[in-house]
Amino acid sequence: MSDKKPISSVNDFVVRFANVNGSGSASANEMFARAILRHGVPVSPRNIFPSNIQGLPTWYEVRVTEDGHLGARGGVDMMVAMNPQTWDKDVAGIEPGGYLFYDSTKPMPSTKFRDDITVIGVPLTAITNSTYTDPRQRQLFKNIIYLGSLSALLDMDPKLIEQLIGEQYKGKEKLLSSNVHALHLGRDWALQNLKCPIGLRVKKSDKVGDRIFIEGNSAAALGAVYGGATVCAWYPITPSSSVAEAFTAHCKKYRHDPETGKAKYAIVQGEDELASIGIVIGASWNGARAFTATSGPGISLMTEFIGLSYFAEIPAVIMNIQRAGPSTGMPTRTQQCDIIACAYASHGDTKHVLLFPEDPAEAFEFAAAAFDLAERLQTTIFLMLDLDIGMNHRLSRPLKWDDARQYDRGKIMTAEMLEEGRDFGRYLDVDGDGIPYRTYPGTHPTKGSYFTRGTSRDRYARYSEEGTVYADNMQRLVRKFETAQDLVPRPLQANAERPTKYGVIYFGSTSPAMDEAIGLLEARGHQLDRLRIRAFPFHSSVASFLAEHDFVYVVEQNRDSQLRQLIVNENGIDPVRLVPIVHYDGTPITARFIAKAIGDHQDHLKVTPLRKAVS
């Protein structure tokens, strides 16, 4: 039936599950991904889900990748088509030579299939209906049954899946054994009725190492716990809600006084994003480490307060889990589209510090660092995650913490210092780094109090509308931003094997796809030096990198090449030398996309000499 040779690949393929949301498939699919990890084979899973709770299509994609390419690959080698609504599109999306796995209980007309793929039918509904009577059980165990069939087809070790089920249902014997039973129902049916294994196979390897499997949002929340955040105020918004929920869960485990049971944290679900950032600013003004988590629309609402934080110099940490905008946009799709909105948030002349973690490990590190930076710089620090890192499990190096590390609480004038007669001017630049001292409310009976305001004031916090006084303060804020350059995480550079005139700049969740694309580009004969930007303001090495290359590609996931705009604006360079490579359809950027876009541009640049072309 197949006129294309079936794809044959060990530990390097993409399986996509097409499900209906609310059907309980998510946990079975995640177990599939984890089971492959237990084989020592890296995976990179992605949830593709609607802004809906039940009934709409949802997909879960697992890229099995012995080489450890954690970006999305594009294309599907095996489709587990469990959703009739999306059948046609799902079948059409399979790579030629790929595989279609489906529930064959009801006969399907041959027009619903393709000739160039291998079709694998398992009567899932028939098996479940003959085993279970409860409708919910039928629904849930059907997922485990297809997992069992897949284990046989892909030559997976069932013991490893059983082990996972054992861990998940530890202490719940009944659930444990019934899940194992369902797994074997599916596995045995496949072994008895189908040719197992197929061309796609999972073979035990040792490429996972000590890496962990964690969502970026959870890692960022853990970073907030380790970084000493005590106040969290938030308003639910996809894809950021799981940050606050994870922070709550982590705090319940690690932040209660063992003797009194009391909480060493306070979490408030605000009435909106304005209240959330207001609470953060009030708490930070009063000396607590506070943060909020939100997404694009929330940032828009917070901008007035962000300006206050900038101008009155109050620390704040905002985790922005970016999603596709503008407006409500595509709430459950990923983008890196709030770069400009955050870098220059609020009215008047403002600039803010942005951190761009590439994966959960950096989300953890940068989240913790954000609190030190916020207190050191007395301003808002944005942790710029996105849905791709935030809401997907990502294989990541283990999280690390140095127990000797103390929090940098910044420049705090204490009661003792005031008693010594130190001159306290809330906006007085005593060290030349643009950062003044602050006092916490309630510090001293007669010294160190001041009136915090969003209006202009002099170095001693006294109201002033004098032009020179205002300009003096604004210039100091510029100085402070320059200080920030050397405090934020530096860009990381990786040079091509041979010297090249071409470079590429990228950041955040583009990282794994970029790393993979470099290999593809090298195979096409293109050499590129790489610079991964990890923060704004840009370190001086960004300017050097630009100076050292004729053309620099800026790869990002938004329409208007926002990082490129920021680079051009902040470095005052000729924009022609910065080539935008943008991907913004809401799906994660892929190595294939990057390699093609850059490769085509490179080919175009390499004009063949005329004489050679004619001859």
Binding site: L37, D210, I212, F213, L222, V225, Y226, G228, T230, V231, A233, Y254, R255, G261, K262, A263, K264, Y265, A266, V268, G270, E271, L274, A275, I277, G278, I279, I281, G282, A283, W285, N286, G287, A288, F305, L308, P398, L399, W401, D402, D403, R405, Q406, Y407, T439, Y440, P441, G442, T443, P445, T446, S449, Y450, F451, T452, G454, T455, R462, Y463, S464
Partner: protein, 351 residues
Amino acid sequence: MTYIAKPKFHHPGLKKNELGYTHRDYEGKISTLCAGCGHDSITASIIEACYELSIEPHRVAKISGIGCSSKTPDYFLGNSHGFNSVHGRMPSVLTGANLANRDLIYLGVSGDGDSASIGFGQFAHSIRRGVNMTYIVENNGVYGLTKGQFSATADRGSKSKKGVTNTDNAIDLVAIALQLGATFVARSFSGDKSQLVPLIAAAIGHKGASFIDVISPCIAFNNHAGSTKSFDYVREHNDAVNRLDVLVGRDPIAVDYAPGTVQVVEQHDGSKIALRKIDADYDPHDRLGAMTFLQKHAAKGQIVTGLLYVDPDAEDLHEHLNTVETPLNTLEADTLCPGSAVLDKINASLR
């Protein structure tokens, strides 16, 4: 003008409170509001209340939004930290500050534009949460700083200075505060210091969300005939249900009251409020009764003042959140950070 330094010298015989502070120690900068502004009387009442309570001035955090009323924290408690924040957002800033350090006294100062319009939501939610604070609205029914537009507390049918009649219904913040579960609710009049000072003192002593709506006529834009927030109108329609004496410390009540006319309420901080009843039937522990009473009297055009509701056993947000007694802003890495050994375990659980 705030840039004019206020002289620090004072009469050597100036009375001192228990802590040895004089009135002057509770003052702030010179007010920049219009001469005769009701808000300045409220400022004076806050100073008086804090002096009488012998509060350490620097242990108060005074937080406001934007507007004439929100400028006033600069004019009292000059040794306290103040925060003139964003329009309508005092409640959230105060909530955050309170979470960071539960040991300070939180004084929120706002206006009717700030709390009944742009910040209506924040007003409502801070009350709902039971934030331990004294929330004062200096209510003049008008936007003073932008020259006389109606605010949301302006009564329907009242006239602006330019002669325009207000056709929108008024928001009664006291009624809303009662409905939202505020545990100390009062209304007063900036022109009645003898009523206002003890109300502020009692509100500070209350643990939980205290709300005081103070009618405070705007001398520049809302003190004309036809206004229902003018000095004359409020004096004529003021219907006080009770008057207060706040008794600091645990001393027995020394004042002689006629039997049956006084109700003593013991507050969480040990202070006592002696309520002298004016309306014999009014019960300040009856939330529903208070709401009905207010509505009935409002329909008759009367402005009910006094301590309208109090629950002396109220809980605050910190109790709801079960936070530690130590202020969160004093905790450091040794108590906040779970450490590397825990992180290793977390890593292991994620493989």
